[in-house]
Each structure stands twice: as structure tokens, then as C-alpha cells.
């Protein structure tokens, strides 16, 4: 296997043309803020709606490297950076014509070409960009570390297009590894064929299908058997919100209270998607489902979602975290900690899992919808470590978007009235304030504040 490389992404709709990136680049490369020395620039024609970016992309197969007659440009296979060697350059400037992105430019002051080198993996322009129109994407690090490992599910499973559950189960089990017993109670994950029928399965590790009610207690029993015979095997539950928050809750709560050693992953798609989109206790207020319809009498669900991850914190689990897959580095970090914590007791990860089929949005928007959920603070990302005794917010949203930007992207919220939108915004703010109380030194202190 080769390698993936970090890259700088640009979101034109966020760029306000302030040129802070340009100054930051010039500053770090030449210690002056002269734009002429900047490797990055943004510009737009008066008719254009958005700014465009001129910046080296560190192409996979760079035209500038191909066209350089002096071999002064080379692609570094380790870092992915296209490196310019001043000593070999003959100043012909062919590279500036070869590059379709204006990523290598001629500097009339130094009389040389110049290009971005990603600042050794810590780009100054990205840090300087206040509206966050530039993002340094390091997902390639996950690919480089884990991408070479066999996916522990077969390539094709019967999940819908753009299924977040499929994405979750593949990443989770690849990271946790084959020395694992997987339990998947009724829901989408066995529904797509992970357990299988008639002697045919889609999972390459031992897997079984508990009842919706007893996932955690069955896994606890399997784990205790392995402990007794002296084998170190990881227990993993891949349950939906029904199998964790509704009818599965009593066995989960019991196992958490007893400190059973397992990783319990709740794939929260906010309803019973596998059986035709019925409400669950984690379906949010206002959401349409087939059992909370929209009509004259009802306008979606009338009750608020159960805050399952906070309930698990109050069980003093070894580790509790919320996750959303747009923030994959955050999720992998939490998996690392969950694996360690599951050697001592219960590790619970609650994953926000938008469902294109049941929530009524285009499958291609899967990651974008989940990202908006986090950026509106509807789904704060945090973790709780029992020995620290408090919650740590792992992805701080400095300026949360209004919840309506998230809600309007999803069909199940299309009917919401202005009053309902106001209510959801208020509830979201209140819940976040409550969460912040748990970030204090002791969760019990936070609670007495809340009371």
C-alpha cells in the first residue's frame, strides 16, 4: 500500500476575502506581511459570487513536476509535498504555466518561483483564517495507520445508500480488531446481513444476534466465561437506539452498574429505521416518524429525546463518549480509549447517526448533515473518563450555527412551525448548558449546581 496525504480544503462560501491567510503566509515565509511573498492568494471577479483560491494542492500526479526541465520540482512520497529545489531551478517558469490551480507563482521581488510547502504539517494560513474557509484535513493519517487492515465485514452488505450504520460498523470493527465477539441486537446492523442466515454471515469475527432486550447481559456472560478460562477477548455491542435506550436499556443499565467489561456502541439513528421509521425514545422533539405523523392533530413528536449518554455518565461507566463520523479523528481517539476502558469495565460510545432513508435526505448529504448536527450544538461531542470524574468537550464549537440550518436540511423536520423551531433552539441551548455543568471538576458538584 502507498500513502494518503493531508490537504488544505477551501470552502468558498465561507471566505470573506480578508486576506489574513495571505499575510500569515508572507509572515511565516519571509517575516514581512508583503502579499507579494505569499504562497496563497484569494481573488474574485466583480461578477463572481465567491472568492477563488490560488494555492498548491500538492497533486497526486503533479503537472509541474512532470513539466520541470531541470528536475527542480519533486514529489516527496512521505509527506506528499511537492518540493521546489532552489539550487536546481533554472527560472524558466514553465511550472507556473503547467499548474492549472495557480499553485506555483513567480515572485518579482525575489525573481524566483514560490509555492506552498504545507508549513511542515502546520499551515499558518489555516490557523489565520477566522471564518474557517480553510481547513487542514488530516483524515489521511487514519488511512495511513488503519487503512491497510482488512475490513472485518464482507465488502457488500445490504445497507441502504449512504448508510451511516455501515460506515460506523466497518470503522469500529477494523479498529477494534478480530479478537472480538460482536453482538448486534435487532436493528439495521443485523438487518443488513451482518449476522446472516442459513450458515452465511457478513462478519469475519464471531458474531451473534441477542434479543433486543438482553444484548449487554449476554455479552457480560460471554466475557465472564472468557475471563474464567483465561482468554482476553473484547466484547463489542453494535446496537441501535432501540437496543440501547428503549427496551435494551434495562440490561445495559444493569451491566453498566455491575461494571461488566465491554464496549457498547449505540448507533443512534433516532428511531426504528429497520422496521419502517417508528419513533424511539431518542427521536428528537418535532421529528416526523410513522408513529409521530404530521397532520391536523400532530406535528411530529411531542416529547424530547432521552439523553442516553448522560444517563450512562451517571452510571459511572469507565468511559462514555459521544461521536459523529464527520469528526473521524475524534471518533478514532475515542475508540482507542474505549478499548482500554473496556478492560476495566463498561465503555459506552453514543454515535450520532443520520439516516438518509428514515430522515428523508439525499444519501450524498450524509456527512454534511451530521456535521451540521455538531456545529449547531444539537450533538455536542464529548467524553467522560470515570477516573477524572467529569466530562470533557472534545470538539468545541466556538460559534454554534442556529439549529434551523441543521433542521432545514432534513425532510423529517420540514413541517416545523416557527414556534417549534424556537422551542428546539431553546432546548438545545438548555441541554448544552446542562452538559457544561458536568465539565466541572466533579460531576456531582455540577449536579448540585443544576439542582
Amino acid at each position: 500500500m502507498g500513502k494518503g496525504y493531508p490537504t488544505i480544503a477551501f470552502y468558498p462560501e465561507k471566505c470573506n476575502g480578508c486576506n489574513d491567510c495571505v499575510e500569515a503566509c508572507a509572515q511565516i515565509k519571509t517575516e514581512t506581511s508583503e502579499p507579494v511573498h505569499s504562497r496563497i492568494s484569494v481573488a474574485k471577479d466583480p461578477d463572481d459570487e465567491f472568492y477563488g483560491l490560488s494555492l498548491c494542492r500538492q497533486c497526486g500526479d503533479p503537472r509541474c513536476v512532470m513539466d520541470c526541465p531541470a528536475r527542480a520540482l519533486t514529489k516527496n512520497e512521505d509527506t506528499g509535498v511537492v518540493h521546489w529545489d532552489e539550487t536546481k531551478c533554472v527560472n524558466c517558469q514553465i511550472c507556473t504555466l503547467a499548474c492549472p490551480y495557480a499553485g506555483i507563482t513567480y515572485n518579482r521581488i525575489t525573481d524566483q518561483v514560490m509555492k506552498c510547502d504545507l508549513c511542515n504539517g502546520d499551515p499558518a494560513c489555516v490557523k489565520a483564517c477566522a471564518p474557517m474557509a480553510l481547513e487542514y484535513k488530516i483524515g489521511a493519517e487514519i488511512y495511513n495507520t488503519w487503512g491497510d487492515l482488512e475490513d472485518l465485514f464482507v465488502p457488500g452488505v445490504g445497507a441502504c445508500l449512504g448508510c451511516n450504520s455501515e460506515l460506523i460498523m466497518r470503522h469500529t470493527l477494523r479498529r477494534i480488531g478480530p479478537n472480538t465477539v460482536v453482538a448486534t441486537p435487532p436493528g439495521c446492523i443485523p438487518g443488513v446481513g451482518s449476522v446472516g442466515v442459513n450458515g452465511i454471515t457478513s462478519t469475519k469475527t464471531p458474531v451473534f444476534h441477542p434479543l433486543l432486550t438482553n444484548t449487554a447481559s449476554m455479552l457480560a456472560g460471554v466475557k465472564r466465561y472468557y475471563n474464567r478460562i483465561g482468554r482476553d477477548v473484547t466484547m463489542l455491542a453494535l446496537a441501535g437506539d432501540g437496543g440501547a435506550a428503549d427496551v435494551g436499556f434495562q440490561s445495559l443499565s444493569g451491566a453498566a452498574e455491575r461494571g461488566e467489561q465491554m464496549i457498547f456502541v449505540c448507533v443512534d439513528n433516532e428511531g426504528y429505521m429497520n422496521t419502517g421509521v417508528q419513533r424511539s425514545s431518542t427521536t428528537p422533539y418535532g421529528a416526523w416518524t410513522t408513529t409521530t405523523p404530521v397532520g391536523e392533530a400532530l406535528q411530529g413528536k411531542t416529547r424530547d429525546a432521552k439523553p442516553l449518554p448522560l444517563l450512562m455518565v451517571l452510571h459511572s461507566c469507565e468511559y462514555v463518549a459521544t461521536a459523529a463520523l464527520p469528526f473521524m479523528e475524534d471518533f478514532y481517539m475515542k475508540l482507542d480509549k474505549a478499548i482500554e476502558a473496556s478492560k476495566r469495565g463498561m465503555a459506552f460510545i453514543h454515535i450520532f447517526s443520520p439516516c438518509p432513508t428514515g430522515w428523508r435526505f439525499d444519501p450524498s448529504q450524509l456527512i454534511e448533515v451530521a456535521r451540521k448536527g455538531v456545529e449547531t450544538n444539537m450533538v455536542p461531542l464529548w467524553e467522560y473518563e470515570n477516573d477524572l470524574g467529569r466530562i470533557n468537550i472534545t470538539h468545541v464549537v466556538n460559534e454554534p450555527l442556529p439549529v434551523v440550518t441543521y433542521l432545514k436540511s432534513i425532510g423529517k423536520y420540514r413541517h416545523l412551525s416557527d414556534e417549534q423551531l424556537v422551542y428546539i433552539q431553546r432546548k438545545t441551548d438548555e441541554r448544552f448548558e446542562l452538559l457544561k455543568k458536568f465539565t466541572k471538576e466533579s460531576k456531582l458538584e455540577g449536579l448540585s449546581d443544576a439542582a
Binding site: 496525504y5 490537504t7 494542492r57 484535513k137 488511512y143 472485518l152 457488500g156 454471515t201
Partner: protein, 97 residues
Amino acid sequence: MRQQARKPFDKSKIPQDLCPIATELSELKTGDWRAERPVVDRDKCVKCATCWLYCPTQCVEEKPTWFEAGLEICKGCGVCAQECPHQAIAMVEEVEE
């Protein structure tokens, strides 16, 4: 690819009075569900692996200078095209030649 999984159980060695145990892996090829196919512009791909990271089927394969979806499995959901930070992937309708 580093193999992780052990081989499934040998069917002939499973006692008849045991509960049902799977001994074969499913070979579902989901590529024939696809209505649109992701097509990668190799010039634009920078190998950032974003498509691999977010592909629900994890069918994205690494090539020498680009990444692309394995069409035997790709269901055509379009997540990769939406998430590609350099707009290097276009969704193209599948039509009979």
C-alpha cells in the same frame, strides 16, 4: 492488505446438535444497485483519502496517484463526491452502452 480475520469454522466439524453457526461469508455484490457512478478526475485527486474515510461501503481503493471507488461494491450514494475537498469526483449516470 494485512489480513486480520481467522478462517470461518470447518463445516464438517460442527456437531449436528449445536445451534446454527455460519461457516460461509456472504458474497453480495452491491455494485448492481448503482444508478450513478463516481468518476475520479485523476488530475484533481491529491490522495487525501477523504473519500475512503467517509465511503460507507469502504470500497475505495488506492491507486498509484489517485483513489477511486471499487465498482463491484460501490452503491453510488455520492458521499465521496460531496465530501471530496477538491471536487475531483463527479457522479455520472449509469446508462447502457
